[in-house]
Symmetry: C2
Subunit: 200 residues, 2 copies
C-alpha cells in the first residue's frame, strides 16, 4: 500500500482548517491514508510570513476577506473567530496526546472537532478548559485528557515534532508532504491531486 | 460596457508572469478589458512577504520548486532566470511610458515581450539596454524609447502610480482589482473567474 500523506497544520490557520475538511477524502480517492501533525504556530512564527500581517493593514484586511471568500468558494462552513489568532499550544498538545494514546483515527476526530469549535462555533480553543470540553464531546476521558495535555512528555514530544517538521522543510500551514514532495497551502490542493493521480 | 480589470504586476514576480499569460483572455471571456499596471518592486518591498525568502532557506527552496511546478501544471513556458530577482524599475518605466504614449495595447504587447524575454529566454531585463532591444523587436523607436524611459516625468509617474496602487490596497504581485474587489495571486484566478461570471 502507498505510504501515508503527512499533513501539517496550525489550529490558528484558517487555510489549515479548510485543508482539514478535504485532505482525508482526497487521499482516500487515491488509496492513501493521512498522518495528521498539529503544530503550535509559535516556534515556527519567526520563519513564516504570517508575522507581516501585523505590520501591513492592507494585507491583513485582504487576508480576512480572502478567508471568507475562499470558504464560500469551496462551500466550507466558516466564521472568522472573535479571538484570532490565538495560542494553539494546548490544542496541539492535546491532539498529539490523543493520537499517541488513543490512535490516529481518534486523534483526527479530535482535531476536526477542535477546528469546528473554533471556525464554526467561535469557541476560544486557546483555553485548556475548552479543549477538555471538546474532548468530552467525542467521548474522551476528562481526567486522562487533562493529565495528558499538561504532562511534560507531551510538551517535549510536540517540541520534537515541530523540530522534525522544520528539518523536513515545513514552514507554514497547511503543508503536505507526498512521498517527500512539499505542497504549501490549501490553494495547492489542485496540484497535490494531480501528483496523487500521477502516482496512483 | 463593464469597466476594465486593473492588473498590477512586478516583472520580477514569476506568479505575475503566469498571470500575464492568462489575464486578457480571462477578462475577454466576460466582456472586459484589462488595464495593465507595472510596478517596480522596491517601493513595495517593505510591505510584502517576499523579503522573508532571504531569511528562510526552506521557503526559498520551496518557492523555486513551486514556480516550476505551477508553470508545468498550467502549461506555461518557464525557466527560472539566472539573475533572479532583479531590479525592474527600467522595465516598469519603459512599459509605462509606452502605455502613455503609444496606447494601452502597445504597452501590453511590450510588457508581454519583457516577461517572455525574462522567463523564457533568460535575458537580463534589469539592464536598460536589454529593455531597448526588446522594444525594437516589437517595432518601437529606439531613441524615443530610450529618452522616454529615462526622463524624470516617467520616473515621477511610476512613483505616483505605485503610491496610488498602495492607497488602493495593492501589496503584492499579481494583484487584480475587479470593480474594487481585490484578488491577490495567480492562485486566485479561479475565484476571480467566479466573480467575473457572477457579474456577467
Amino acid at each position: 500500500m502507498a505510504s501515508a500523506l503527512n499533513f501539517y497544520f496550525d489550529f490558528s490557520s484558517p487555510y489549515g482548517y479548510f485543508a482539514s475538511t478535504r485532505i482525508n477524502e482526497l487521499a482516500q480517492k487515491y488509496g492513501r491514508r493521512v498522518d495528521w501533525h498539529p503544530f503550535a504556530g509559535a516556534p515556527l512564527k519567526p520563519l513564516n510570513s504570517g508575522t507581516s500581517l501585523v505590520h501591513n493593514p492592507a494585507k491583513k484586511a485582504y487576508t480576512e476577506r480572502d478567508y471568507v471568500r475562499t470558504a464560500a468558494f469551496h462551500a466550507i462552513p466558516f466564521k472568522l473567530p472573535t479571538l484570532f489568532p490565538l495560542d494553539t499550544r494546548y490544542a496541539s498538545r492535546a491532539t498529539m496526546w490523543v493520537e499517541s494514546t488513543q490512535g490516529e483515527d481518534k486523534g483526527i476526530e479530535f482535531a476536526q472537532a477542535i477546528f469546528k469549535a473554533y471556525y464554526v462555533n467561535d469557541l476560544n480553543i486557546g483555553d485548556p478548559a475548552v479543549i477538555v470540553t471538546i474532548g468530552e464531546s467525542i467521548g474522551l476521558n476528562t481526567e486522562q485528557l487533562t493529565a495528558g495535555m499538561h504532562n511534560s512528555f507531551t510538551k517535549e514530544q510536540l517540541r520534537a515534532e515541530i523540530d522534525l517538521a522544520s528539518a523536513k522543510g515545513v514552514f507554514g500551514s497547511p503543508f503536505v508532504l507526498l512521498d517527500g514532495e512539499p505542497f504549501w497551502g490549501f490553494d495547492r490542493f489542485d496540484q497535490l491531486e494531480a501528483a496523487l493521480k500521477a502516482k496512483a
